[in-house]
Symmetry: C2
Subunit: 353 residues, 2 copies
DNA sequence: TTGTAGGCGTTATCAA
DNA sequence: TTGATAACGCCTACAA
């Protein structure tokens, strides 16, 4: 793979219209250095007279500093590349706001990209971030449980770190960097325990893609809950979805058809839980009286559907905020995983049976 | 206002670890020029032998091109700055995906920022975009109906365009550039006409902030509908909200208290319509039997609440996509407004009275 | 306090 | 086809 970033020589657009720093300096009748010192907010002292002249010239000439030239000298820039593996619908304005708020406070810019679930695209974007000499990179979402994939990421990120970059993740990747991870095990365990404590024993599980680390953790949590309750684990009650609503419907149909005695369903995303609602609606099944449902994510929609969806909070904004703060602080970034709790939110979609 | 972008001289981070183009060239035993030609995907022909050597050296050295150096020469970069005035909740992953999809296809990157409703911040971000020498800027959302504001934006964008930048908006700003605007007049008119045709005459309106252009358009549309039906316009039935859910509740309370004979409410955002749902719920008012509701936006949530919300589509993704396509094409950008329809989606929240 | 000059990593021009 | 070399716009020792 050539390191060429499919760069196409752009039509050089008339180039600087002579309003660079040099123009400002000339108009103000000062040297380049003086102009720079005034305009770049250097600590170097400049006499009030010259300072005014430079400022005025800059204003008149509508001078806008060239960040590329600056970052070429500095070797880095105050931009954090945020890589979202797959921008699903539970990624909302709230998350962006969380990221943006922290970044802005520190005077940083965000470069947000979406790999749309493609590993190839992910690597390509990571490389772009490096080429852009961003100062930090944040990986959003849960990573793939695949050693080859992990190795490629590690290689790329190592190169980045070696050149002074900072990395953190918002979601588990099991990479040698600072990771803020949701407590998926506890979250799923709480969901299943809640269902069990309401008398449900035949619980269908609609899982997210099995390739994702978070999915395996949630399965672990579910198994743990069953084990604690002494209820045998039944692999046949697990159907895999893709996080999206439609897949929730399909999985639900399958589950209900093959196991008519299922009384409750745990879907690993609110979207898929809504897919279950759709099926229940179509079949004339009442939720929660005839079918109990628990979701995951606590999307804004969860409280507004009828019945309001009992679900587990996925602390997306919290993870994002923490990862951003870690990247922008000066504290050294240790390779560690910081667990953020996933709380169960009880609403109206589960009935006692 | 100094053009200084509050730039703080960062700690120069050990600078290039000697793995720049020069290192690659040296290792491959070729000149800088040759290495550049191979790595930058130039059309200039290079013999197979040298090409291989360069590629290999680049691989071994983990060479990543410096985009800053490139853009310093080119004077521009394939990045489009996307400015969201206020990232409200109806700005979703779908919009980002729409933007990203088009950009990625053309090999461009997106720099997404959120001004959080602050004019000062908006101008600051615009200036940052210019400093970054982005190739295009997209303004998302409806602009403020304020000449001073418009003048400041125009000044900033003119400077940008003069230096070769491309500008488009996704939402009405009434600026001298290519604008993709939603047909707010028709949208609001359709909403009110639908209510009127269902026998409602006392219709409360919860408007978005009056400072926003789109709000005025929607008021115009509403007035037009009343006029056509020969129903007198009643200013007292209009209460201003801020787009958010809570403001919808407050406005609804006010409306219902002051005008107990109101039979329907048109809220200019789905979020505020949900605020109306909240009030109805609290007051024990049945929707739509005792109170009809129409929203605006067609948020994903609209179809899932009970009763499903009748609303007007705000074609956010469509606007975004079109604006992005316009920016990335080579076609000259005329100052024009392209109207995108706002369709009424009839669901279950309106009853005949 | 001010100015001069060198260099950041690339690409483009022009000879060879 | 290849290789010197001059920009690109800016910051910062270092000298004045």
């Amino acid at each position: 793979m050539p390191p060429n970033l499919s760069y196409v020589p752009a039509k050089r657009p008339t180039q600087a219209n002579g309003s660079g720093l040099a123009a400002v300096a000339e108009r103000a009748g000062v040297s380049l250095a003086t102009a720079s010192r005034v305009l770049a907010g250097s600590t170097h002292r400049v006499s009030g007279d010259l300072r005014d002249r430079v400022l005025h010239a800059a204003e008149v000439l509508d001078y806008v500093p060239n960040a590329s030239a600056r970052s070429l000298i500095m070797g880095t820039r105050k931009i954090v590349g945020v890589l979202q593996h797959d921008m699903l619908d539970f990624f909302t304005a709230t998350n962006i706001r969380a990221l943006e708020e922290v970044a802005d406070r520190a005077g940083w810019l965000i470069m947000l990209v979406n790999a749309s679930g493609s590993v190839e695209k992910e690597l390509r974007y990571l490389r772009m971030f490096r080429a852009e000499r961003v100062g930090a990179i944040i990986l959003m979402g849960s990573g793939l449980d695949d050693d080859g994939y992990r190795a490629m990421l590690t290689r790329e990120l190592n190169g980045f770190v070696k050149s002074g970059g900072r990395v953190a993740t918002a979601g588990r990747h099991d990479l040698p960097c600072t990771e803020f991870v949701p407590d998926n095990v506890a979250g799923a365990q709480a969901a299943i325990e809640y269902l069990l404590s309401n008398g449900h024993h035949r619980i269908g599980i609609i899982s997210s893609p099995s390739a994702i680390i978070g999915t395996r953790e949630r399965i672990t949590g579910a198994k743990r809950a069953f084990a604690h309750a002494g209820v045998p684990w039944n692999e046949g009650l697990v159907v895999e979805g893709d996080h999206r609503r439609a897949s929730g419907s399909i999985a639900c149909e399958q589950l209900l058809t093959r196991n008519p005695d299922v009384t409750a369903i745990f879907a690993m995303s609110d979207e898929m839980a809504l897919g279950v609602y759709d099926v229940a609606h179509k079949r004339g099944l009442s939720i929660p009286d005839e079918l109990s449902v628990v979701g995951y994510d606590d999307t804004t929609i969860a409280r507004d559907v009828t019945p309001a969806l009992t679900t587990v909070i996925y602390p997306n904004s919290e993870l994002a905020r923490r990862a951003m703060e870690a990247c922008l602080s000066d504290a050294p970034l240790e390779a560690a995983q910081l667990l953020i709790p996933c709380e169960l939110i009880v609403r109206k979609s589960v009935a006692r049976v």
